[in-house]
């Protein structure tokens, strides 16, 4: 099954995603954020600390998610789609103008390898700021990716101030 977790910045998406990984099976954390700069490092450290001692295998995968093969079937967290889409769109090695197909293929391929896949994404289109054309294209692409992921997900949860709100399907126990 696939659960899509969305929400704004610092809303508690990571904590919720980890709380959805119960059970004794294999647990993977697929990290899409490149560790560039002190802030990204601090954020990654925070995510590491949240998962510490919980038996996760961390897999760093910044682009080409469709090429990833997990060595066991279990639960995986993909965090996060906004990074993955930006990496596909803006990376010097292999930037594509529309990352949707690559991201969606990647998530589908990953979902087929998991008992439970928790996909974390971001809400970025609600600030009413005018951006340059490339950023506007990125916002639109991520919006379409989120809509397509929500269509194929069993459950969609929005996190607001740490509170999970069911948008589609049942909130998992």
């Amino acid at each position: 099954m696939m659960i899509l977790v969305t929400g704004g910045a610092a809303s508690g998406k990571s904590e919720l995603a980890e709380s959805l990984c119960r059970g004794d099976g294999a647990k993977f954390y697929i990290a899409a954020m490149r560790p560039f700069g002190e802030e990204a490092k601090a954020r990654i450290e925070r995510h590491h600390a949240l998962r510490a001692g919980k038996g996760f295998t961390t897999v760093e995968r910044y682009t080409d998610l469709a090429g990833l093969r997990l060595d066991a079937r279990g639960t995986a967290i993909l965090e996060c789609v906004a990074n993955l889409a930006a990496n596909e769109m803006f990376d010097e090695d292999g930037a594509v103008s529309d990352p949707a197909a690559r991201v969606l293929d990647g998530v589908a391929t990953l979902a087929a390898q998991c008992e439970r896949l928790i996909v974390v994404t971001d809400e970025i289109g609600a600030d009413g700021v005018r951006y340059d054309a490339a950023t506007e294209a990125y916002i639109a692409a991520l919006g379409r990716i989120n809509a397509a992921l929500a269509a194929s997900a069993d459950t969609v949860i929005e996190v607001v101030a740490g509170i999970p709100i069911g948008i589609k399907g049942e909130l998992p126990v």
Partner: protein, 119 residues
Amino acid sequence: MVLILGALGAGKKAYARSLGYTDEQMSASIDSDAPVLLNLEEAVRTDPKETEAAFDRICKKELVLCREIGSGVIPLDPTERDWRERTGRLCARLAKEAAAVVRVIAGIPVAIKGELPCR
């Protein structure tokens, strides 16, 4: 304490008034005696550390209103990023302590934790 969240202009203050609070009972200052705290996000922006340190005092308010600011593109400016991050984390902490959390969308209050308070 009831935490009231929503976008700029969503109707947070109008909802507080609908609960019977007057404008005189609302203040943006944490140290005021007013039972309703307005614009928590501005306090975070003005003095993030002081605002975080005032957590217990914020929890003693009857209503805490805070604008949701996290659903946009990651700002290029580090101060702006820090503001978003701290406001989001503080709201999540307050939501844990709150008896109810209400999110106002297009003027409509939606209880996302507990019961919707009404007059």
